[in-house]
Symmetry: C2
DNA sequence: AAAGTTGCGTCAATGGTGTTGACATAAGGG
DNA sequence: CCCTTATGTCAACACCATTGACGCAACTTT
C-alpha cells in the first residue's frame, strides 16, 4: 500500500492499460494541470486516475494518501515560483520580490493554495525558499532569533493573504460573486442610524472587494525597515 | 427546498421524530458544539442530523446548502467574539483588541475558521464588526478611502493569520505533529554547504513552529501608527 | 534460457459525503 | 371542522477516499 517505500532503483515501470508509464513527477504534473484547467472540484483521485488513464487506486503506489500528494504538488509550485530567484541587491527589495513570487505562484493555483498554503511540505523546494528568506532577514541586520521571528511573521503574512485571496478565487463562481458583490450591495443598504461609520464611507466600501495584499505588504515592509535601521 | 424562503411568522413548528423542535438557532448551536467537541470531520449534514435527532435532509428547510449553514455559523462566531466590544480610548489599542478578539474567536473554532475566515457572511454580526473597525481607522485620522483600504489590509492580515493557524490546528493530529516537528527535525539535518543561512540559525529554527501572529500584528500596527501621525 | 520474486496496475467493495424529489402528516388559519 | 401547506422523513443518486485480493509482467537469479 504505502507510497515511497519502494526504493527508486527497484522500480518496475509497468505501463497502464492505456499505455502511459506512471511517475511521481507525471502524477504531480497532471494534478497541477487538472486543478488549473477545470474548476476547483477537479482534483480527486478518481478524476486524476481518469486523466492519467489508470485506475484511481494506482496512485496509492506513489503517495500514501491525498494529503501526501497535495504536499508534493505544493512543493512543485514553490519550486516554480522561486525558480531562478537569487536576490543580490537591497534586502527589502528582495523580500518584496519574494512576497510577490509566492503570492503570484499561489494565485496561479488557487485551489491548491487554499488547501496547502499553511502546510510545511518538508521538501527540497521549500528548504531553498526558507534559506533565501532567512538570508534576506540576516542581511537586514537582525540578530538570529529576530531574523527567524521576522521571517515567520513575513512569510505567514504573505501566505495568509495568498490563502485568503486564493480561497476566494477558488470559490464556486456564484458564491465568489455573492461575496464580492456584498460590499456594493448588502453593505450599501444598511441604515445610517445603526451604522454611522459605514454610512460615512459608503462610497469607498467597494474597495473592500479588492485584494489588500499590496497595501498590507507595503505596511509590513515599512515596519521592518524602521526596526532594521 | 430553499431555506429562509418561508417568512418567519408563518413557520409551523413541527417536532422531529425524537421530539425536538428545529430552529435555525438550534442548528447553528449544535453545529458549533459538534465542530468543537469532535474532531474536524464531525461537521457533516448526516452527523448534524444525528446529533439533532432529525433526518439530515430536514436541514435543507433552514439553509440552502452547507455553505449557507457555514456562513451562519461563522457569523455566530463573529457575534460571540465581538460581543460587548465598544472601544472608547486609543484607536490603536482598539484595533489591537479587535485583532485579538477576532483571532481568539477563530482559534476557539479552528475547523470553522479554516473554512470560513475568508468569506463575507453578509450578516448582522459582521456588519457591526466592520462598523467598529472602520470607525477606529477614521478615528486614526485617515481619510475615507485610506481608512477603508487600511481596514481591509488590517482585517485581512488578522484573518489570514487566523486562517493559517486555525487550519494548522484543525489538521489531523499526526499531520499537525509532522508539520510542527519539521522545524526541529527535517530542517535540522540539512547540509550546511547547501543551506548556509539555515545552518547559521539552526538553533532558532524551532521558532518557526509557533504562531507569528503577535509579531506580525505589532509590526503592522506600528506601521499604521507611523502613517497616521 | 528457465525459474522465481515481487512491483504494481486492476477490480470490487466499503463506508463515507451533499443533495434532491416524492410523500405523508400535522399545524394553524378561515 | 376543513383545507392549505410547512416540514420531517424516506429513498435514491452521484460523488468521494481508501483498502485487500488478484494476477500479470518486469526484473533478478540461477
Amino acid at each position: 500500500m504505502a507510497a515511497g517505500r519502494v526504493p527508486v532503483e527497484r522500480r518496475r515501470r509497468r505501463p497502464t492499460k492505456t499505455g502511459t508509464v506512471l511517475t511521481e513527477e507525471l502524477i504531480v504534473d497532471c494534478a497541477l494541470r487538472l486543478a488549473g484547467e477545470h474548476g476547483a472540484e477537479a482534483l480527486s483521485v478518481r478524476r486524476l486516475g481518469a486523466a492519467l488513464g489508470c485506475d484511481p487506486s494506482a496512485l496509492y503506489r506513489y503517495f500514501h494518501d491525498t494529503d501526501d500528494l497535495l504536499l508534493a504538488v505544493a512543493d512543485r509550485i514553490i519550486g516554480e515560483t522561486m525558480g531562478g530567484f537569487a536576490p543580490a541587491g537591497d534586502w527589502l527589495a528582495g523580500l518584496r520580490e519574494m512576497a510577490h513570487r509566492v503570492y503570484g505562484g499561489y494565485s496561479r493555483h488557487p485551489k491548491i493554495a487554499a488547501l496547502a498554503a499553511y502546510r510545511v511540505t518538508r521538501r527540497p523546494h521549500e528548504f531553498r525558499a526558507v534559506e533565501i528568506g532567512i538570508g534576506l532577514m540576516l542581511r537586514g541586520g537582525f540578530d538570529k532569533a529576530t531574523a527567524v521571528r521576522h521571517y515567520a511573521a513575513f512569510i505567514d503574512t504573505v501566505l495568509g493573504h495568498a490563502a485568503l485571496d486564493a480561497a476566494h478565487a477558488a470559490l464556486a463562481p456564484e458564491r465568489r460573486g455573492a461575496d464580492t458583490r456584498a460590499w456594493a450591495e448588502a453593505y450599501q443598504g444598511l441604515s445610517a442610524d445603526e451604522f454611522p461609520q459605514l454610512a460615512e464611507v459608503r462610497r469607498e466600501l467597494p474597495l473592500m472587494a479588492v485584494s489588500s495584499f499590496e497595501t498590507a505588504l507595503e505596511l509590513f515592509l515599512s515596519a521592518l525597515e524602521v526596526r532594521a535601521g
